[in-house]
Amino acid sequence: MTTMTLAKALNAGLRKAMEDDDKVLVMGEDVGTLGGVFRITDGLQKDFGEDRVIDTPLAESGIVGTAVGLAMRGYRPVVEIQFDGFVYPAYDQIVCQVAKLHFRSQGRVHVPMVIRIPFGGGIGAVEHHSESPEAQFVHTPGLKVVACSNPADAYAMIQQAIHSDDPVVFLEPKRLYHSAKADVDESAPPAPLWQSRVVRPGSDVTLVGYGPTVSTCLDAATVAAEEGRSVEVIDLRTLSPLDLVPVQESVRRTGRLVVVHEAHVTLGVGAEVAARVTEECFHSLEAPVLRVGGYDTPYPPARIEDAFLPDLDRVLDAVDRTFAY
């Protein structure tokens, strides 16, 4: 049992995966000597060498595209995209190549790679450094997409993602890198990667988040409890496949559901959760599924990002509104 920040947990998980399998490579901009701009790969190049921790030229399509080739040669590349907003130059390689190679080859080609993306806002950054691009990957068949929300999950999930024979987009809530600290039991058997999880049980309304919004949901549950409302909170963890089994089970009890993410509301993951849960639990719902997310505007300047991001008040307001139907 070690106390770790989320950043440190990812670092430890990466290290463990590299120790366990010498086919695991880390690559990206500044991941070597510098240890990444967030220090997630700190010390790895020193210990595993330049061949396994690869500082790349400044070109995201090049990074992902060469990682595809490395994967075809039997390696397991773990690619770091420096910030969410810089994944787009690699979009073609991710969506048309990484996602499709297994399918196109009738299962003959495996592309076991992990694309790590620090995502989300709330760190006072300049533009393009606070994006939430996950919906687009969830919409793309052939990719798996997960998001961690706490150090213990981060430690286990990064290893599980690396171990997966399928390509995984791995979302890291950058806002929590250094603020989220927790005891991590490195020897505990990890929860299955492809499952969401109830993180706080409740009976009146269901709140669903992932990545950075899980803690917002938990805070909301605490406040709501003071007002006598019992809120169940679910951490989706996996966005593709989208595990809605616990959500549906919960909604059948509570009849009310609010989904929270930082991505823009329109066609954010909440849209899919709402559509599916409504289809599955139509007669259980007392109110429509409500969504709290970033507005449908570009991410605003940092001084007003708090107004843009879903916060405690907006989540609680949505909870209230589900009781107004």
């Binding site: 990682a67 190549q97 009738q106």
Partner: protein, 376 residues
């Protein structure tokens, strides 16, 4: 940067040098840097390869005309470039093709019928890339050049370059066209290959056209010089000369295997057919140009050389023609027999580990199909 074989990068202002070993008239010429002795068997082999590959192409084109294929991308005119490049490979080398490398596929032992699936719409590439060391065709222009570079970086990590063991040292080939040279991905591949000195050969078939756009829209200087801007050698070879292409590719592949890094080979050739069977090149190019290039036919010059030097006679030529007939007949027959895929299988091929979502969609699909069977 000066290379013992490729020499220093030519001056930008100088005329492009075209490496040639066999003239269009079938005369053997010599080149100071790229010269080889070819055995009679080798020469006859090239001839046979090119004739068969041309037949493969004509046959597939005909299959498309008869509605058996949805589309076909012809290689007509590019036989020498592809056979020269393909025959210079060693078994352990790995190739990343575009959608037009039927001749290279042939050299890699991919059955011609297997090439038809993608164009017939029954699959998206039916051979096993690892069995043939030949990746699937890539349609998104340029994407495969990065895969090749990454694969070559893997080869380096495996210690499979520069060992001196001819069965171990490995080169990787990235195929692409003149049009593709404009894509960001291709130029990023140059950056990565140069930065890591990766054992990859960039083999560009400059067939003068990217659909309707002439080569000049993509570059105002000969393409092989692009490599000089990235710090590695580039050379232009007569892509209609199978001997020269073979010789240059052999040297370039050997450089890669020895750990000397990337090379750019521009095979200067011409797309004699349409871009694909849906294209109508009369809308954008002069038949005159095509006629001029006919005089440079890659097969005719080898046949002329073989005959003139008594290395082949009518009997040999007839024998190869006969072999082509057999191939053509088999392609027709087996193309018709290519089975459609089972729609339900699409759900289990998306991932190595199927997701519950797709399992559910598959089950729903099965039930849906069954509901018709019940009714019917």
């Amino acid at each position: 940067m000066t290379d013992p074989v490729f020499g220093p990068a030519p001056e930008q202002a100088a005329d492009p040098e075209l490496v040639q070993l066999l003239t269009p008239e079938g005369e053997r010429v010599h080149h100071p840097a790229f010269d080889l002795d070819f055995s009679a068997d080798q020469l006859r082999g090239f001839y046979r390869d090119m004739v068969l590959v041309r037949r493969l192409d004509i046959e597939a084109t005909a299959l498309q005309r008869h509605g058996e294929l949805g589309l076909w991308a012809q290689l007509l005119g590019q036989e020498a470039a592809q056979i020269g490049a393909g025959r210079a490979l060693r078994p352990q080398d790995f190739v990343f093709p575009t959608y037009r490398e039927h001749g290279v596929a042939w050299c890699r032992g991919v059955d011609p019928v297997q090439l038809l699936g993608l164009f017939r719409g029954v699959d998206q590439g039916s051979w096993d890339p690892n069995e043939h060391n030949f990746a699937l065709y890539t349609i998104v222009i340029g994407a495969q050049t990065l895969h090749a570079t990454g694969y070559a970086m893997g080869v380096q990590r495996d210690g499979a370059v520069g060992t001196g063991d001819p069965d171990r040292d490995t080169a990787v080939v990235a195929h692409f066209g003149d049009g593709a040279s404009s894509q960001g991905d291709v130029n990023e591949a140059f950056v990565f290959a140069a930065s890591y000195n990766a054992p990859v050969v960039f083999f560009c078939q400059n067939n003068q056209w990217a659909i309707s756009e002439p080569f000049e829209r993509q570059s105002r200087i000969p393409l092989y010089r692009r490599a000089h801007g990235f710090g590695f050698p580039g050379v232009r070879v007569d892509g209609n000369d199978v001997l020269a292409t073979y010789a240059v590719m052999q040297a370039a592949l050997q450089r890669a295997r020895e750990g000397q890094g990337p090379t750019f080979v521009e095979a200067y050739t011409y797309r004699m057919g349409a871009h694909t069977t849906t294209d109508d090149p009369t809308r954008y190019r002069l038949s005159n140009d095509v006629e001029r290039w006919k005089l440079k036919d890659p097969i005719a010059r080898v046949e002329a050389y073989l005959r003139r030097n008594g290395l082949a006679d009518d009997a040999f030529v007839a024998e190869v023609a006969q072999e082509a007939d057999v191939l053509g007949e088999r392609m027709r027959r087996e193309c018709h027999a290519l089975p459609d895929p089972a729609p339900r299988d699409i759900f289990s091929r998306v991932h190595v580990e199927q997701t519950p979502e797709l399992a559910a969609q598959q089950a729903a699909y099965d039930a849906w199909v069954a509901s018709f069977e019940e009714v019917g």
